[in-house]
Amino acid sequence: MERFCRVQRADFDPAALEVALLAGAGPGETAGAVATFTGLVRRAAGDGAFTGLTLEHYPGMTERAIGEILDEAAARWSLLALGVVHRIGELAPGARIVWVGAAAAHRGDAFAACEFTMDYLKTRAPFWKKEHWGPEARWVEARSDDRHRAARWQGEAGTTTASTEE
C-alpha cells in the first residue's frame, strides 16, 4: 500500500492531493473508490471575535504516531493508498487544517479507513490547538466525544463498516 504523511505550514490543494493519492495507488485502474476528508478551522456560531488557531506539534513523534495509524489502517482494510496532510502554525477561520485520503478497490474500505484515520489522528497524534480572540488565547481542551469516536474502532479489526453506536 502506498502511503504518505506530511506535516506542513503551507496550505494544500485537496484536488491535487487526490490526484497524487490515486497516482500512488498504482497502475491498472484497480482503484474503485477514493474517500477524502478535509478539516477546517471552524468559527462557532455567533463568535465574531474569533481570529483563528495556532497549531503546535511534537516534531518526530507526530510523524511516528501518524505512521502507526497508517500501519493499523493498512492492516484492517484492503487499501491501495492512504495519505495524511496536517498543517501547523497560524491558521485563520475557514482555513484547511487536515486532509485524509484513502483509495481502495471498494468504497467500504475507503470510507472506513478514512474515518478511522481521522478518529485516531484526533486522539493519538501529538498536535495541540490554541484558539485566539485577538489578544486573548486559550488552549483547546480534549473532547470526550473524540475519545468515544476513536474507541468505537477497538475490537472490530477487519470489518469494513463503521459502527454507528455512540
Binding site: Y58, G60, M61, W128, V140, A142
Partner: protein, 82 residues
C-alpha cells in the same frame, strides 16, 4: 537525557525543554518526576495533572519506565489536533 514540554505544559513551565547533561540523569520516570517536581511550584503542579501524558522516545508510556542517559522524555496535555 532531554526532557521536553509542549503546549499548555510548556507555557505553564515557561520552558520547552531541560536536560541532564551536567548531572546524573534519573534512572526511571518516577525518579524524573520527583526531580522535576522539586524544581518549583509550577513543575509540581504540572506533574500532578491527572490527564498529563508522558512519552519516552516518542512513545506514550503509562506508569513507571526505566530511563537511559540518551532517552528523550516528553510531558504534554491530551492532544487536540485534526
Amino acid at each position: 537525557m532531554k526532557v521536553r514540554f509542549f503546549a499548555s505544559v510548556r507555557e505553564r513551565l515557561g520552558t520547552a525543554e531541560c536536560d541532564f547533561t551536567h548531572e546524573t540523569p534519573p534512572a526511571d520516570l518516577d525518579a524524573l518526576r520527583a526531580v522535576l517536581a522539586a524544581r518549583g511550584e509550577g513543575f509540581a503542579e504540572v506533574l500532578a495533572q491527572p490527564n498529563l501524558i508522558c512519552a519516552v522516545n516518542q512513545q506514550v508510556v503509562h506508569g513507571n519506565s526505566a530511563l537511559g542517559p540518551d532517552d528523550e522524555v516528553a510531558f504534554f496535555p491530551p492532544v487536540t489536533g485534526g
